[in-house]
Symmetry: C2
Subunit: 138 residues, 2 copies
């Protein structure tokens, strides 16, 4: 789907790290928590609108991303969610949480506090993602 365009709000708030089989992989530009977002390249807006094959691909990407977050950040709980009340484009948050993080035990959605990543931090994350996803990540 070459014509796919990312929602402007996601583009503004996030860093686009690369693409996977079905999704764009984004990083919320908030170094306070490891907060990744998968954006399937589709204009369908609900997970149940995806085909069985698309759901399977998305689930696989959630699984690999979850494992990545657990092994690369200090994380005691994963928060995985498809919400979309504000940004209608289908996207799945996968967030690593820890009792010492900035909004524990509340959810990250709706919080305003942000700390931007440095370029070095982003580069390191991309290198680690390439190791985790192999040639699925481009």
């Amino acid at each position: 789907m070459n014509s796919f365009e990312l929602d402007p709000r996601l583009e503004k708030d996030c860093l686009v790290l690369g693409r996977l089989d079905i999704s764009m992989l984004l990083l919320m530009n908030n170094a306070l928590v490891p907060w990744f977002i998968l954006v399937p390249r589709t204009y369908k807006t609900e997970i149940i609108d995806l085909s069985e094959a698309e759901q399977a691909s998305l689930l696989e990407e959630i699984n690999i991303l979850s494992a990545f977050i657990k092994s690369n950040f200090e994380v005691t709980k994963l928060n995985t969610a498809s919400i979309g009340n504000i940004v209608g484009q289908l996207h799945v948050h996968v967030v690593g949480r820890h009792p010492s993080d900035y909004c524990w035990p509340g959810v990250v959605w709706g919080t305003k506090e942000r700390k931007k990543y440095t370029d070095t931090q982003v580069s390191e994350i991309i290198v680690a993602l390439k190791q985790q996803f192999g040639n699925k990540f481009i």
Copy 2:
């Protein structure tokens, strides 16, 4: 898994509607939004800890429940999430949202406002669930 026990907090806040293949099906006792919860009968705490077969069963239950919510309530967006920062037992929220609901466009988690269901409302929901899930729902 006969020994499975529901987390006391879920038991307190929710109505247990019945059981599906892998999950208990709960209804948050808050008639302000259609807010259902799937609780897989396992003591694993993350979706990625489930086997492939367990993930497939859970995904199927999410799909059927999502379709049920869309066809039985006034819903413009589904919010689907596994969080678990407060209740560690693995559970998946599937919530039907609408721009006129009590906390739109915010998320339901962390909100305090509640309105209990009447017995009649709960009975009607159970009848409709039986139609949707067929003999998967007991």
